[in-house]
Subunit: 151 residues, 2 copies
């Protein structure tokens, strides 16, 4: 791989990867670039796989799963598991948020509610728990889908 010699800043995550003590490889750069270029913020392993295939830059599924797991551990990506059992990943922008999902069309909207965050901490500590993490997902139907349903 010569990218890092000939075009130092083509790949924005190059330094991040290197800082993780991981080698800067084609598959890793490609996977991250999919997240940057994709219209949908939330991608499953399969989504990444298909996007790369479309790009005619095939990467094996095993590599994708391994890369996603690495990037998550390193904090470059954040993983969420929805009720269908599938995991989706998104770029970690540092701001924590939760998700609102349309059960009809799959649209995903992010939100943050400070009051909910506060109350979660309170609930945990009242029960003697040290809160490490949480998962809040709202399921409903978006305006469009709701009106279609009514028809």
């Amino acid at each position: 791989m010569l990218y890092y010699i000939t075009m130092e800043h083509k790949y924005p995550f190059e330094n991040e990867i290197r800082n993780l003590g991981l080698k800067v490889t084609g598959p890793r750069l490609k996977i991250l670039s999919i997240f940057e270029e994709s219209k949908s913020r939330h991608l499953s392993a399969e989504d990444v796989y298909q996007a790369l295939k479309t790009n005619s830059s095939d990467v094996g599924m095993a590599t994708i799963y391994r890369a996603l797991a690495n990037f998550e551990k390193a904090g470059i990506l954040v993983k969420s598991t929805f009720e269908d059992g599938k995991a989706v990943f998104e770029i970690n922008e540092g701001k924590h948020h939760d998700h609102l999902i349309c059960i009809e069309c799959g649209e995903v909207v992010c939100f943050v509610d400070e009051e909910i965050e506060r109350r979660q901490k309170k609930i945990a500590s009242k029960r003697g728990f040290t809160l490490k993490n949480h998962s809040l997902v709202l399921y409903g139907s978006c305006q469009q889908c709701e009106s279609k349903l009514g028809t």
Copy 2:
């Protein structure tokens, strides 16, 4: 199956099953009785399978999954999917609640917070969504596990 003739009220869910238009069968009664007798409120399909095996009342996994799905659809059980991808079921006591889980020992605590419930509705409607459902799980470590970790 003679239970319903000879011992009408041995199985408390007999009527519920019948009211669903389902046949009152041994496996169905046994599965529900596991939920009643079990110390842990939340059981996975595997948990039920093992409990029945211990009881020397073996029931096939397929039957368990089918029964759990039926009971959920009918509102006798409530299903939750945690981040490990496993689904757990619990008896539906009518009161909605969320879960607080110890990531060390697996302890599950139920809670309800009306303010969080209200804000969820608000968040959804502000974005044009009709809220159907939600999943809130807090992950942390309980007092005991936290102090063990410190050691």
